[in-house]
Symmetry: C2
Subunit: 315 residues, 2 copies
């Protein structure tokens, strides 16, 4: 009931190449890491597990699996408006194959550099299947975290970019797990909106990252805020046009990790400037918040066209 010897050595794969941070007081290697939270800030934290052949194809290259796991976890920071501070990794592996581990470490490091996430600590264990747990943390100005609960009637609803590309790439990913090109990039390399999220602090009234489909996830904002969200089909930036048979899958597919957020109408100009600065060409207003409850999708004439299956069903 203890660790097999080789699993302690695995930590050597994760020893170097991560961003530094002045917040790190005691780095990885002691009983705990110790970090400082600068005055005027609070700490946003999220923990996220991915299991082989449930959340990703086990046959895919380790570097892709690692990079995606970190990106997906970091998306929760973006959704709160938090600046990435660091992460802890808990990795459960069926074996300690060094080729696989090098790939995993490489993909993790690259994503950590992109996302500016120092590795604060970790634990490696043996198990029957590959299980990756990432605990991310980020800094938000005191009281400024963007929750799901602040949307107000009269607010605009925005989405940060094109949705559906990852859902449409999924069959290619499953058929050819080694393919790493533009056809699979939306799945393996989702663009995490941490810069936008931070910019939205003080502007957005509510936000979340889309992981289970726009319509379903918008429902979380509606519930937490006690409001109704009305989305207009033609305003939503989707990977295929409105007329395409796959259009509806774009609305119900997750995994693009775009943000959906609400903001008062007087924040429009500032949000547009922000999205221009960040090069987010498809950041767009897609509807309005009203009194009531739930999420309604309507067409340009105001007709209710809400599909019955609004995302991956959790009920």
């Amino acid at each position: 009931m203890s660790r097999p010897p080789e699993f302690e050595l695995i930590s050597t794969y994760f020893g170097r190449g991560y961003p530094d941070s002045p917040d790190v007081i005691v780095p990885n290697g002691d009983d705990c890491s110790v970090i400082a939270v600068p005055a005027g800030y609070q700490l946003a934290q999220s923990i996220d597990t991915q299991v082989e052949d449930i959340h990703f194809p086990a046959a895919a290259p380790a570097s892709l699996i690692a990079g995606r796991a970190l990106r997906c976890a970091a998306s929760d920071l973006a959704a709160m408006g938090a600046a990435p501070q660091g992460f802890h990794l808990a990795l459960t592996l069926p074996n300690s194959d060094s080729y696989w581990l090098e790939g995993f470490a490489c993909g993790l490091r690259d994503a950590a550099q992109t996302l500016n996430l120092p590795l604060l600590g970790g634990d490696t264990t043996r198990g029957n299947s590959l299980v990756i747990t990432v605990a991310v943390q980020g800094l938000v100005p005191e009281g400024a975290a963007i929750t799901r609960g602040g949307a107000k009637p009269g607010d605009d609803i925005w989405v940060s970019g094109v949705i559906g590309a990852s859902a449409l790439a999924l069959s290619t990913v499953l058929d050819t797990p080694h393919k790493d090109d533009t056809s699979t990039a939306p799945y393996w390399h989702p663009q995490i909106q941490t810069a936008l999220g931070q910019g939205l602090c003080g502007l957005a009234t509510a936000a979340l990252d889309i992981s289970d489909g726009l319509l379903q996830d918008a429902g979380h904002i509606a519930r937490a805020s006690g409001v109704k969200l009305i989305l207009t089909d033609s305003d939503i930036p989707t990977a295929v046009r409105r007329e395409h048979p796959d259009w509806q899958r774009c609305l119900s597919g997750g995994d693009d990790y775009q943000l959906v957020f609400t903001a008062p109408t007087d924040a429009r100009a500032e949000i547009e400037r922000l999205s221009q600065t960040l090069g987010l060409k498809h950041c767009r207003r897609i509807g309005a918040v009203t009194d009531g409850q739930g999420v309604v999708l309507q067409d340009a004439t105001g007709r209710d066209i809400t599909p019955e299956q609004s995302g991956y069903s959790h009920f």
Copy 2:
């Protein structure tokens, strides 16, 4: 590649009964939890995974498994001198059996109350086997975290209590995984030294919690501090007497989660007062730090009796 419906509902099992904390700004249920770190404090964090039939017998009651997982993780906070602030849970399950889940939730809640650890957030996923990852965090006064690297020649070496009881209970635990009585208590309900750890801030120069055997873990302090640790056999409080055939297993067995720590000789009186206040009858000086490297076990005459196998080998 998404969550099965019942796994979202599992969070309902973990919804209530945890300690509150004034540090929690945004509780579990949003994209991230948000916490405050009070002025003058830093945050100690550790992540710890336990896998069924590697770290615990899968056939044991879920409440015991959960409680032990949280206690073992919290021990890292004790070793840094941190006051428990909260934890995140990532739970991977082969199925969503409600009876098992209720037991798990109950054991987790009880341990969280004992340890004063609010549940800050979590993630539940499906997988082939049970994998429990606990990310704990605690507060330490700025700059006061007790690392492994501060031991100085001339310091005393202390252990917080009796070691070896858990190692000696292991065969009973494996033979009768449902047994929850005094014979298995050292394994299932290790006494985590968070109060002692906090009291040692400013007194101890180095500390860690024993998880792989006293001799081996003492080696981590020797290496990190660049010193030699000399332990005297008759001073070490063990579950069986020096003459017993199992005595050596007490020194190399982990899982008691007692603290081993070093402190200057002029801190003796204060450490004794502290351990008396906390009712730690077996907190005891077991040796001295000198120049050099490594860990030596000697008998009362000063003869080197260091065993070759000093704990679970990681090399």
